[in-house]
């Protein structure tokens, strides 16, 4: 309802909206990709956020630090979409089918570098995490958000995020045959 009413009262400059959002679109896409793990879904998510805020230029202009604020909006939208999809098992099944089909036909490169292989192993390790752990480790360790920012974005206390992050890192290290810091602590302790 608020969106509709804001739309009525808007007197906005399209260029101003573009100038305000443009520096953040690339980063929003990265966050969206981290969450969705699909380029097309990430693009759709970013587009949704832009369309949502287009009538709210005045509101956007008042935000001091737009980057985490937009990320929070995007995250909330992602979670909403996820909940809706979970209520619609048919859609879920279709998405899975498409995903499997794409994966099946994805050709393997002839020459893989060590870095490619490590990235693949890391991808697999990330897929073994639960959603909460994966999101926090990706947004913190890969996208550089602080825990304080993530606490605001995800509406979760910093302490909870810390423990999710710790478990996620140890799980990844274990998958990559790296030494978790906990193990070192136990050996030394």
């Amino acid at each position: 309802m608020a969106a509709i009413l804001d739309f009525f009262s808007k007197k906005q400059s399209p260029d101003e909206f573009e100038a305000l959002l443009k520096p953040h679109v690339g980063h929003l896409y990265r966050v969206a990709y981290r969450l969705t793990n699909q380029a097309e879904a990430a693009e759709d998510l970013v587009q949704d956020v832009m369309l949502h805020f287009y009538p709210k230029l005045n509101e956007l202009k008042q935000i001091e630090n737009l980057k985490p604020w937009l990320a929070r909006s995007l995250y909330n939208r992602f979670i909403d979409n996820l909940r809706k999809a979970k209520r619609n098992p048919i859609t879920d099944a279709m998405e899975d089918t498409v995903l499997e089909s794409v994966t099946d036909h994805n050709p393997q490169p002839e020459h893989e570098t060590e870095q490619d292989l490590m990235q693949q192993r890391l991808d697999q390790a990330l897929q073994q995490l639960n959603d909460d752990q994966r999101h926090v480790v990706m947004l913190h360790d890969m996208e550089g958000y602080t825990l304080t920012e993530l606490a605001d974005i995800m509406a979760v206390p910093v302490g909870t995020l810390k423990s999710r992050l710790h478990r996620a890192r140890n799980s990844i290290k274990s998958s990559l045959s790296m030494e978790p810091s906990d193990t070192l602590m136990r050996v030394k302790g």
């Binding site: 739309f7 399209p14 949704d48 369309l51 287009y54 490590m118 890391l122 030394k188």
Partner: protein, 226 residues
């Protein structure tokens, strides 16, 4: 500092979350303890690996396309603010306005004015669908709401005007309104483009009983030069 404390605070140290005093003690320990220093270096290596993990670039031209899809652009998509999701509109009161001859035929057409029922003091979302035969990139849309009917959350706002783009086909406008008295009235919407104007009227009937029904109505179209 004990090695256990050092290792338990490794994340905080790397993330820069230790206080200055703790940090200097921490660094002093790392300078003296090889095993803790090794754990720290391993952790740095891991963090570096995580940072290098990249995402595939978006499709070429994504950014331009994303901005082009905003409603102010001529290529306005079905996701514009004006078109707030046609499928979701069906649960509420809906009125269809067909502008079949929009901006092409200056002849006035008169048809029965659609009406919709509101319950006194109860907000109702009225969905107006404007079926436009061709895209209109720069239209001025205005709406006049009767004095005793409020736009929900915007008490006292009865006259609204804004610029918008209309896509070819169905354009949905959702308007949440509340009747503040039992007196009915007429909502008037106008679309102006160039020297053309189209007027759409909707009769609002007020009742005190709760009615959970979907009203559908015909429309009136009056073309005139402005």
């Amino acid at each position: 500092m004990h090695c256990n404390i050092i290792l338990s605070q490794l994340d905080d140290y790397i993330d820069g979350e230790l206080k200055p005093g703790q940090r200097s003690q921490y660094e002093a320990h790392l300078g003296e303890c090889d095993s803790c220093k090794q754990a720290w270096q391993q952790e740095l290596q891991f963090r570096s690996l995580m940072k290098e993990h990249d995402v595939p670039a978006p499709a070429v031209g994504f950014e331009d396309r994303a901005f082009a899809k905003l409603p102010r652009h001529a290529s306005s998509s079905h996701k514009s603010s004006f078109v707030a999701g046609f499928g979701g509109a069906m649960a509420a009161g809906i009125v269809l306005f067909i502008a079949a001859a929009l901006f092409l035929n200056p002849v006035t057409q008169q048809q029965a004015i659609p009406n919709i029922q509101l319950t006194l003091h109860e907000a109702k979302k009225v969905n107006m669908v404007f079926d436009v035969p061709e895209m209109v990139a720069d239209a001025t849309f205005s709406m006049q709401v009767p004095e005793h009917i409020d736009i929900a959350g915007r008490k006292g706002l009865h006259q609204i005007e804004w610029k918008t783009a209309l896509k070819k086909g169905k354009n949905l406008l959702s308007l949440p309104i509340v009747a503040q008295s039992a007196k009915g009235g007429e909502l008037v919407a106008k679309i102006k483009y160039g020297d053309q104007e189209k007027v759409f009227r909707l009769v609002l009937d007020i009742q005190t009983l709760d009615v959970d029904s979907i009203e559908q109505g015909m429309f009136t179209i009056m073309d005139k030069a402005v």
